[in-house]
């Protein structure tokens, strides 16, 4: 059964170290390869925790979790090599001494493998993903000198350079102006259609659920309270209690 799904979570519960109460609980989630899913919900709903439970950054405390048919707890490094993760609200010091190209290449570090040096082919992937997000001219710029939106694009290029099978994107539209939001949305739609990557995005903004997204999961207080096709969720009354004009109340 679990092998039919790229992500398979059964009764998952995650508790932070040193805490007693679970941040997410009774999570049952089955995602097929190639799906484009949006997870929405208010702050503290457990959306980020769910993403980090999927890629094993946070260990679940009960239940069963499988990604690519492999048990997450035992195979987290292998799973992460194939899974791109965009972190939410990543803040950076303007003096940070790293160039954009090196940050994008760092996304491939795990995938290339230990004891292996970067090759010309790896750099080609870096230039390609920087080109995809329209940041190729920024390759030799210090990363700390970028605007919030530019930096977000570099982080996106970083996960794309990894050539992941699953993309986990935590608030990919935060820090972006309207034009950049449209650009990133178009880009995500294109990547999903062209490469058939499984995409899971977390968002608090219903108005920016990409058009390729076919399923929406609504979370509240650590539980999945709705999981349905995009159209059904958007037309449901329950969603109006959480969102007003597409934005969290």
């Amino acid at each position: 059964m679990k092998n039919n799904y790229i992500i398979y979570l059964e009764n998952i519960e995650t508790i932070y170290e040193g805490e007693k109460l679970p941040v997410i609980q009774n999570i049952n989630l089955k995602i097929k390869s190639g799906e484009f899913i949006a997870i929405i919900g208010p702050n503290g709903a457990g959306k980020t925790t769910l993403l980090e439970t999927i890629n094993g950054l946070l260990p679940y405390t009960s239940g069963k979790g499988f990604v690519y048919g492999k048990e997450v707890i035992k195979n987290k490094l292998d799973i992460r090599k194939e899974t791109g993760y965009l972190i939410q609200n990543f803040e950076i010091d303007p003096q940070t001494p790293f160039l954009c190209k090196d940050i994008v290449m760092s996304g491939r570090s795990g995938k290339i493998g230990i004891f292996k040096l970067t090759t010309k082919k790896d750099w080609e992937k870096v230039w390609y993903s920087m080109g995809l997000v329209g940041m190729i001219d920024f390759a030799n710029r210090p990363v700390g000198k970028l605007s919030g939106g530019e930096f977000q694009k570099i982080l996106l290029a970083r996960v794309l350079a990894q050539q992941p099978r699953i993309l986990l994107l935590d608030e990919p539209f935060s820090n972006l102006d309207f034009t950049s939001k449209i650009q990133i949305e178009t880009l995500l739609n294109r990547i999903h259609e062209k490469h058939n990557i499984t995409v899971v995005i977390v968002s608090h903004d219903l108005s920016f659920v990409p058009s390729s997204c076919d399923r929406i999961i609504v979370m509240e207080k650590g539980h999945i309270i709705m999981d349905d096709a995009k159209e059904n969720i958007l037309s449901s009354e329950k969603i109006d209690n959480i969102f007003q004009n597409g934005v969290l109340k």
Binding site: E17, N55, L57, L77, D78, I79, R80, K81, E82, T83, G84, Y85, I87, F90, Q95, T96, P97, F98, L99, D102, I103, M105, S106, G107, R108, S109, G110, K111, I112, I114, F115, L117, T118, P142, G144, K145, R158, Q162
Partner: protein, 271 residues
């Protein structure tokens, strides 16, 4: 100026160059990864270890390495999960290690032992012998290989540990490798720079290089270069005006840092 024959000075000069290289290279990791407090604790543990060696009549370098590693083994995992904050590490470990060092030195038998204990406290230009230089050479070589082979993992880790983990790197191995290599560099440089000041040789050259570059590759090149130059100038100063060598080196690194802060292109608007 103190005049000494070359066969006595040469191991010290080589030792100074290698200590400058090893400490300042590890500094490039320690500074970026905010490991300064653990490093200070480790360097003082190495000092306490060396004092213990003097008291017991063992090789102080060996006991310094054991104490330094022991501290890394205890504090490393605690600090890694942010369960122990840096001010607590400094406040607690620093004072207990210095207290232990003074107790060990107090019980050091005979005047000769007390003399070598003082050398460990503030360093001695002539205390480094051929074996110490050889050990530093091995360490420097190993550090270079480590950086060359794991460059992509290290850059990823230095930028952000969580992102590095998210892309499938086992960051724990690199975190502890960096701690242990730093412990080695500190313990082997103790005789030259002294237990109280050795950590300045780790922090100051990297902090100086930080003022000029936005590319970490350049910081990894210039930090050891500044460390080596500082050690050589400090060495010369020590011979010229009979300063303790550790103090001379630290003064030189501090002057470099002050100049770097003043002329740093990063401080100007638009940079």
């Amino acid at each position: 100026m103190i005049s000494l024959p070359w066969f006595i000075i040469l191991p010290s000069i080589i030792g100074a160059i290698l200590a400058g290289f090893a400490c300042s290279t590890m500094g490039a990791f320690v500074v970026r990864m905010n490991l300064a407090s653990i490093g200070v604790a480790m360097s003082h543990a190495a000092f306490a270890g060396a004092a213990f060696g003097v008291m017991m009549g063992f090789d102080p370098t060996i006991t310094a390495i054991i104490f330094s590693f022991g501290t890394a083994l205890v504090i490393g995992p605690l600090a890694e999960k942010a369960r122990l904050q840096s001010n607590i590490i400094i406040g607690f470990i620093f004072s207990i290690m210095i207290a232990l060092a003074f107790i060990f030195l107090n019980y050091a038998p005979g005047e000769a032992a007390k003399g070598s204990a003082l050398n460990i406290l503030w360093g001695n230009i002539l205390y480094i012998d051929f074996n110490d230089s050889l050990l530093l050479l091995f360490l420097s070589f190993f550090v270079m290989i480590f950086i060359f082979v794991f460059y992509k993992e290290l850059i990823s880790l230095l930028f952000n540990r969580k992102l590095a983990e998210a892309s499938g790197i086992n960051t724990k191995i690199f975190y502890f490798s960096i701690l242990f290599l730093t412990g080695f560099a500190v313990a082997l440089s103790l005789k030259l720079v002294g237990g109280l000041l050795v950590f300045a040789l780790i922090i100051n050259p990297t902090s100086t290089a930080y003022q000029f570059f936005y590319d970490y590759k350049k910081i990894l090149i210039f930090s050891p270069l500044i460390g080596i130059i500082s050690c050589l100038i400090g060495f010369y100063l020590s011979l010229m005006v009979d300063f303790p060598i550790g103090a001379s080196i630290v003064i030189v690194t501090t002057i470099f840092f002050a100049i770097a802060i003043y002329v740093s292109p990063k401080r100007y608007k638009g940079n």
